[in-house]
């Protein structure tokens, strides 16, 4: 990630006024929402863009000659262009709308990996992956006889590069890596992993669900082959995400799901598939979702991804330093480069109890295994508490988090 740390002065108070959900109380206390890595909140313009579309412009896309269908199609395809520009994809054909990161990875597993894998071939992932970047590969391994290889991590939460160099080899048919760890916040230095993979001709998929909301992502600069992310973690709607794929690879891949939209002609004898990107978008797409995603991207871009990254980094540093001042606390995942995720433990207090006590104090965090059970196993813990920050969070909210943590500690003294 190449976030430039320059002026991070955001008018956070003004930003917060645009997020209606943040101005509520939970248990009589102002909500402090620190579960952004699970799902972020939406600015009112995103919600309005979706409402406006349904109120004025909705019809099915790519089908009718009537005005509404044309308008809906223009908006939907316009959203694709917004996404393309945002991640700097080479062509619109490389931007596939999916239900989210999970579906994007499954699409690659089934349409790209499955037909190419022979028994004994290998897929390489790391130990810090989200289940969404583990299970699709296990499924395709079961289907093909391929093997899943796992790059180890170290105690601070870095992916072991030397071990990676040992593990990647002639049998490796795909490298699938998280760009940013959801459980630990580690920013994986993917560039050097990709460089090695490219030298050996191994295609690379990046799970960018936690990276795209917090940094500038340029898929051409990364030189990855596939990049997956979800709208709802970046102030967009749920139920829509993106698969970026290198055009030549997508062209060579068979369709994943069949149906309308993805065809040019159908007879009972033979069906001709549609061109990219429609080939991978069977059925009526989530039109409103794409429009909402584009509105979210316009908003994030207007603020500036580099300023967002810098501000969130300051918040994380402040939170980490504040937690360190409290006795009996431990941060899990202490890599030098982290996104604004703070997984932590309180001595003698189970994360589940922490979550409940914080909730009563109005502070929303995630507790559990964060869909990364192997990471929990690595640290020999059943779960962590995780505070994850967005650009609309404030230092005062970090202080509220710390006060709530002290309350939990008093409770269990």
């Amino acid at each position: 990630m190449n976030a430039v740390r320059k002026d991070s002065k955001l008018d956070v108070e003004a930003i917060r006024r645009d997020f209606p959900i943040l101005t509520q109380s939970i248990n009589g206390k102002p909500l402090v929402y620190l579960d952004n890595a699970a799902s972020s909140q939406r600015r009112v313009v995103v919600i309005e863009a979706i409402s406006r579309y349904y109120e004025h412009d909705h019809a099915n896309v790519h089908r009718g000659v009537h005005a509404l269908s044309q308008r809906a199609t223009d908006m939907f395809e316009g959203s694709r262009e917004t996404v393309r520009r945002f991640i700097n994809a080479h062509s619109l054909k490389e931007v596939i709308f999916t239900r989210g990161t999970t579906e994007s990875i499954n699409l690659v597993a089934q349409s790209f990996a499955r037909p190419r894998l022979q028994p004994g071939d290998e897929i390489l992932i790391s130990h810090l992956e989200h289940h969404a970047n583990i299970v699709p590969w296990q499924l395709v391994c079961e289907q093909t006889g391929a093997k899943l290889k796992v790059i180890p991590i170290d105690m601070i939460g870095n992916v072991n590069f030397e071990a990676f160099e040992q593990l990647i080899g002639p049998r490796t048919k795909l490298l699938a890596l998280a760009h940013v760890s959801n459980a630990l916040g580690t920013v994986v230095p993917v560039a050097k992993f990709i460089a090695v993979a490219k030298r050996l001709g191994v295609p690379v998929l990046l799970d960018g669900a936690q990276a795209v909301p917090h940094s500038v992502v340029d898929v051409q600069a990364l030189d990855c082959d596939f990049y997956c992310f979800s709208a709802h973690k970046m102030c967009g709607p749920t139920g829509i995400g993106v698969l970026y794929g290198r055009e030549a690879l997508l062209q060579a891949m068979p369709p994943w799901q069949g149906g309308g939209e993805m065809i040019l002609s159908v007879t009972f004898e033979k069906t001709t598939y549609n061109d990219l990107p429609a080939k991978f978008e069977a059925g009526t797409p989530h039109i409103a979702g794409a429009i909402g995603l584009a509105a979210a991207i316009d908003y994030l871009t207007a603020i500036g991804m580099d300023r967002i990254a810098a501000y969130e980094h300051e918040l994380l540093s402040y939170a980490t330093a504040s937690l360190a001042k409290l006795e009996g606390t431990r941060v899990i995942g202490t890599a030098a480069h982290k996104a604004a995720v703070m997984s932590f433990e309180l001595q003698g207090i189970h994360p589940h109890d922490v979550g409940t006590i914080l909730d009563v104090e109005g502070v929303a965090i995630r507790t559990g295994h964060h869909c990364a059970m192997p990471v929990m196993d690595f640290y020999c813990i059943p779960a962590t508490a995780r505070a994850s920050f967005a650009f609309y969070n404030t230092r005062e909210e970090v202080d509220r988090l710390m006060a709530a943590i002290r309350r939990a500690q008093e409770m269990f003294r």
């Binding site: 994360p351 109890d353 059943p382 269990f412």
Partner: protein, 154 residues
């Protein structure tokens, strides 16, 4: 919602110093309970004296609610018949899941300390995990009895 109602002194105490914690060897039956949502795992061990529960022990890890609930349960079921354990489970479950259910402190005894949980629906599963696990152990014991009735050497 009052946290003190959830984390009563009895709960905090039983979490810190769980009673009957550890393996029971030999056990007539044991069963594993797992709440995949929060990672709580516990094993409940059971020894019987006739149709009555003799000793119940447990080990594993979990949140304060699940550990305290298991600890309180091991004390509450000792010496009770299988049917009485069933009744008690029903009573506990009913009290935890129905907001308006009357709290029969006489029947519940110390278990009444758990009733604060019902204001925290996300935590009811934590309190009931040990009971479901004990039920599984009792079922296993019953199946073993049916398949191979204990032979007395006396």
């Amino acid at each position: 919602m009052d946290l003190k109602d959830l984390y009563r002194d009895v709960i905090v105490d039983h979490n810190k110093q769980p009673r009957n914690f550890g393996k029971l060897v030999p056990a007539d039956a044991h069963a594993d309970g797992h709440n995949p949502l929060c990672g709580d795992r516990l094993t409940v061990y059971l020894s019987m004296a006739g149709d009555k529960v003799d000793t119940v022990k447990f080990d594993g890890h979990g949140c304060a609610i699940s550990v305290a609930s298991a600890s309180l349960m091991t004390e509450a079921v000792r010496g009770k018949s299988v049917a009485a354990v069933g009744d008690l489970f029903h009573e506990v479950h009913n009290t935890l899941t129905h907001h308006d259910a009357p709290i029969d402190t006489e029947r519940l005894g110390k278990l009444a300390a758990l009733t604060g949980v019902r204001d925290f629906p996300a935590r009811v599963k934590c309190a009931s995990l040990c009971w479901h696990t004990l039920n599984a152990a009792l079922d296993m014991y019953a199946r073993h009895q049916a398949a191979a009735p204990t032979v007395s050497t006396e």
